[in-house]
Amino acid sequence: MISPAISLRSTVWLTLALALVSAPHVMRLPWWLSGFALLMCIWRLYLARMRLELPSRWLLMVMVAGGAAAILLQYRTLFGRDAGVALLVLMLSLKLLETRTLRDGMVLAFIGYFLVITNFLYTQSIATAAYLLVCVWLITAAMINLQQRREAAGYRTQLRTSAVLLAQSLPLMVVFFLFFPRVQGPLWGLPADAFSGISGLSDSMSPGTLNQLVLSDEVAFRAAFADGAPAASHRYWRGPVLLDFDGRTWTTTARPLRNNIELERTARAVRYTVTVEPHNRRWLFALDMPGSLPENAIINADYLMLSRTPVTSRLRYEVESWLDYRIGADASPAALNRALALPQGFNPRAVALGRQLRAQYGNGPAILDGALRFLHQQKLLYTLQPPLLGLHGVDDFLFETRSGFCEHFSSAFVVLMRAAGVPARVVTGYLGGEYNPLGGYFIVRQSDAHAWAEVWLENRGWVRVDPTNAVSPARAEGGLAAALPQGANLTRSAFVTHPVLRQIGLTLDSIANAWNQTILGHNLEMQRALLYRAGLDDTTWRTLAILLIAAALMVTAILALFTLRNRPQQDPAVVIYRAFCGKLARAGLAPREGEGPNDYAARLARARPDITSAVHAITERYVDLRYKKISIKSDTYENFANACDGFACSTLATRPA
């Protein structure tokens, strides 16, 4: 059968729905492809409006080949997330141009559903989910429009039907959400290019690294404390420790792993949960100093927690930190020597100053104090726009420009200490974080990125020193904005600075956090925990599959029952008569579609003269019950039922061969 042609209205519907689904991809696609797709949509609508012929197959072939070649040139591949989506959008826009019949329209609608999924490969925020839900609603409505193809049924009715369908699928969605067997990590294995362009800390530091990063309001991670958060001045979230300096850039090489945490702790521990946004590195941030390791985490020689694989999806872990601690008191001479190395021929004035401090104060703690006092006396300026530095960056900063950012402070301080013979190293990470009273957790943003120092002192091991504090104590207490001088050109989003908008921002963030924790974070462990609470210990995928099917069936059954109950009461005569027809159907004499009872009886009489009288009696009774003006007595239906029951036993048995 030839599929009927698709109407103008349906074409408009479908095109609009598909354009909306593809819209979020526009930012990610090359401009020429977005323009091309838009042009194809407009062309298709124009052709439909003008009732013109669609382009020929050959032209489409040429465009498919050309488009695919262009995508290949752009991405150097046809596979992977970005190229795949680009190809899909190209094909979709061209498919639009060969959509003539109902069948083509349905294909388009299903491609639309698939495009919905591809959007989730990029972002899974609430806004995306809400937007795509609207898209699903519209595609479904477009599909209803395709099938009804009636001018009389307005788009409102179709939208309503679509909404009702989605609402009916809601219970099933919940069941699938709870019980669909989860796999560790993304289901289909995200393509390798999925995590390019994520900003965050890096494993090297040179002037200008951090002050670019802190302009970003993006969330690095969120942390919720079990009982009481430590003071702001204690919230140093440890990141990569940088040991090696080449005169300009601090770097670190792969550090050996630690088998166990050797921590002399002196005071209470804090417990907290960190939900880290994907940053494509292995670092797991924890407060100085982590005392326990989350599952599947390791720790390196510098007490930096690491995940076994790069963090490519939002990760939640629970950790315990000791705020008063002692580490590395028995560090090996080799390790300490490495923390003393300085490149030859750089920063002569700083090196000379270091030597002078050594001569002046003699022992470690005194040198430390002297160096901090020196920094303080220098009246250094804390700024996001430090002037450019020359070859001897630390010298220029300390004695010439005297303005810089935390990376300059920590770098200069560590150089001074090393020159004075005190082992020292740079630690990068985050400092502080904004408390969200609505969600009861801290938001740590990229703008909280910080660099500080650790020096090794006899008997005390590695001690944290924040040279920025010596200049601008407000940084640790009040965050970045408080530390900068008045009028500093800090372009922050209004959601951070404006009081009302900030409140709205915090509310939105707490909603986003709840979404992350409960919906997106519903992973294998949470699923297990849920089932465990429900009294199920065995959570293999087989159990889950059985649970899933059972729950889905149950929900469907309940929905069906609910729907069927609202149907009008069936006439008992019909029920009895249908049973009678059923018996005849088993003998190969089913009533035809739309066949009236009398016509049926007449046909039966011709086919099976032996049962004519019985059939006529029953049919006559049925017709009387249904169509004649008669009074129903208490035994009317019983008599009719008996007559029909009797029919089966007596008559069909004597069927001629």
């Binding site: 059968m1 009927p4 099938q147 009804q148 193809r149 009636r150 009389a152 049924a153 006439d571 019909v574 579609e593 739309g594 066949e595 009236g596 009872p597 009398n598 016509d599 017709v623 249904r626 169509y627 004649k628 003006k629």
Partner: protein
């Protein structure tokens, strides 16, 4: 009741081999509906109309519709009479119990609408004076298929005024042979005796209104109408007026079968004639209104 059977058999003697159409035409008249007979020239449309009027014993007028027919030719005209010194009304052919509007789609829309207004209101207004038409009042219109040359197709709103549209079609070989052998139809028509009084026909009409249509039957009619509205097979669904027409025709058909209640088979029998000129099938899978009606019956289960 027997009288209507006599009428049917009388008409059958003249129009050979068209028993079903004759029955439908009678049902249409009993249901107080107007009848449209559509077919190519020469299959006996006019003869059927003549035979019906003659055997029912009704006053009969024929209007041959042509492209220069004027409303006054249908309704009548007031002429100044010098004898009485005032205008006297000369009633047109519409003032008759049976009006045969022959080839109705050959006249201009203006002349058509004069007839069609009279059909709806059972009265005509000429020069400010409203005149009742006689009872019973039937219009039997014949028309040629609209694709023939020189026709003004009736608009849908006016087609809707006809309760039924039937097609006669060619007779089968047997009937045609009988026709060729038999007497001249014109002679037969002249010999036709009325078998019924107008009063008896009015009584029959009243009786038809009493035929019981149960909820189950109305469910079926509603299911049919709803399907015609919701299905993608039809460009336009059946109107409430069409649904009402179905009920009336069903009752008349049941009465012709000497029953006091209607059954689904009655609906199925009259539906093609009642619905085919009101339904428009969509797509090339279905051709013509009659096929659309058949499709409707096939698709809708009897509740």
């Amino acid at each position: 009741m027997n009288k209507i059977e006599t009428v049917a058999s009388e008409v059958r003697r003249i129009i050979l081999g068209k028993e079903r159409q004759i029955r439908l035409a009678l049902a249409c008249l009993i249901a107080r509906g107007h009848l449209l007979i559509e077919d190519v020239p020469g299959v006996g449309k006019t003869t059927l109309a003549h035979a019906l009027a003659g055997s029912l014993g009704l006053a009969f007028q024929r209007i041959q519709f042509t492209s220069d027919l004027l409303p006054a030719d249908v309704l009548g005209v007031a002429v100044y009479s010098s004898e009485h010194g005032k205008f006297a009304f000369h009633p047109g052919p519409i003032f008759s119990q049976v009006v045969l509007a022959d080839e109705v789609n050959r006249a201009t829309p203006k002349a058509q609408s004069a007839l069609l207004e009279a059909m709806e209101e059972h009265q005509v207004t000429i020069e400010g004076e409203t005149r009742r038409l006689p009872e019973p009042f039937f219009v039997i219109a014949t028309q040629n298929p609209s694709h023939q040359i020189g026709t003004f197709p009736l608009p849908e709103s006016q087609l809707d005024r006809f309760l039924m549209r039937i097609e006669l079609g060619y007779p089968n070989a047997e009937a045609e042979r009988a026709l060729l052998r038999g007497e001249d139809r014109r002679d037969l028509l002249e010999q036709l005796k009325p078998c019924m009084q107008p009063q008896e026909l009015l009584a029959l009409q009243r009786e038809a209104q009493q035929v019981h249509t149960s909820d189950a039957l109305l469910d079926y009619i509603q299911a049919l109408v709803n399907h015609s509205r919701a299905s993608a097979d039809f460009a336009g669904g059946l109107s409430p007026r069409a649904a009402l027409a179905l009920v009336h025709a069903t009752r008349a058909w049941a009465l012709l079968d000497a029953r006091t209640h209607a059954v689904p088979e009655d609906v199925q029998a009259i539906l093609p004639a009642v619905a085919s000129h009101r339904l428009h099938a969509v797509g090339d899978a279905v051709k013509g209104g009659a096929d659309a009606a058949a499709r409707l019956l096939q698709r809708v289960a009897i509740p």
